[in-house]
Amino acid sequence: MDGSQSPLKSPNDIVLARQLVRRAAQQIGLSLVDQTKVVTAASELARNALVHGHGGVMDLEVVENGGRRGLRLTFSDQGPGIPNIDLALTDGWTSGNGLGLGLSGARRLVNEFRIHSQVGRGTQVTVVRWK
């Protein structure tokens, strides 16, 4: 299906990523609440890629499964990676000065959540929100 890739190099790219995800979420007919959830998750993950991964990209795809449509977002960076993913997914755990809700919070806002990270190589987070 149709997809796009956008850079996450500056704080302004977080805003652009949110707008792209909002548009795609509207196109596949997500409810307003679900749009807001997936856009917020995208904002968290885009910021993670930018702040912790030193920049990256977001891939956006419309996916289909048995007539059901969804939005799949993949955030990839070549940053330092996450040594302990379980810890990073804990509410309140933070490596910086944030609230530590980015990863754990984003996971609660989507239907599917996959994370793959290698220390020294980077991190990839894939989320799906189904209609």
């Binding site: 704080p11 302004n12 977080i14 805003v15 949110r18 707008q19 909002r22 307003l32 609440v33 749009q35 807001t36 959830k37 856009v39 917020t40 904002s43 968290e44 910021r47 509410d91 944030g98 609230l99 809700l101 980015g102 754990s104 919070g105 984003a106 609660r108 806002l109």
Partner: protein, 118 residues
């Protein structure tokens, strides 16, 4: 650089956020608003987010911080106009904005500030 305007109404400050918030803009607002509270000896701050479609953990934390900074300086902050979808998402995200006073509309927020300060 863009800035969010801060309006003064007597001893209150009014901010209406009408743009998609990027990180720098929120940080700038935190700075500007804290300075404005001090400069005008404001007793209350009203922040209208009825046009804001997304509040993520960063923006949420900034709102919390603005409210704490105002309180330390002697001003109450009331956050008004949050959209239902934003409220649902914030709670699911794990962010309930502790310590931040809220009201549904600008009018109610203003009433609350006035009641407290009369």
């Amino acid at each position: 650089m863009d800035r969010i305007p801060i309006l003064r109404m007597g001893e209150f400050l009014l901010v209406s956020i009408q743009v998609d918030l990027h990180d720098q803009l929120v940080l700038q607002l935190q700075d500007d608003l804290t300075n404005a509270v001090h400069r005008h000896a404001a007793r209350g701050v009203l922040i209208d987010i009825s046009a804001v479609e997304v509040v993520d953990s960063f923006i949420g934390r900034m709102i919390s911080d603005i409210s704490s900074m105002g309180r330390i300086l002697g001003a109450r902050t009331v956050l008004v106009g949050m959209r239902p979808a934003v409220a649902i998402t914030l709670v699911e995200l794990g962010l309930s904005l502790p310590g931040v006073e809220t009201a549904l509309t600008v009018e109610r927020g203003m009433l609350r500030l006035r009641a407290e300060n009369s």
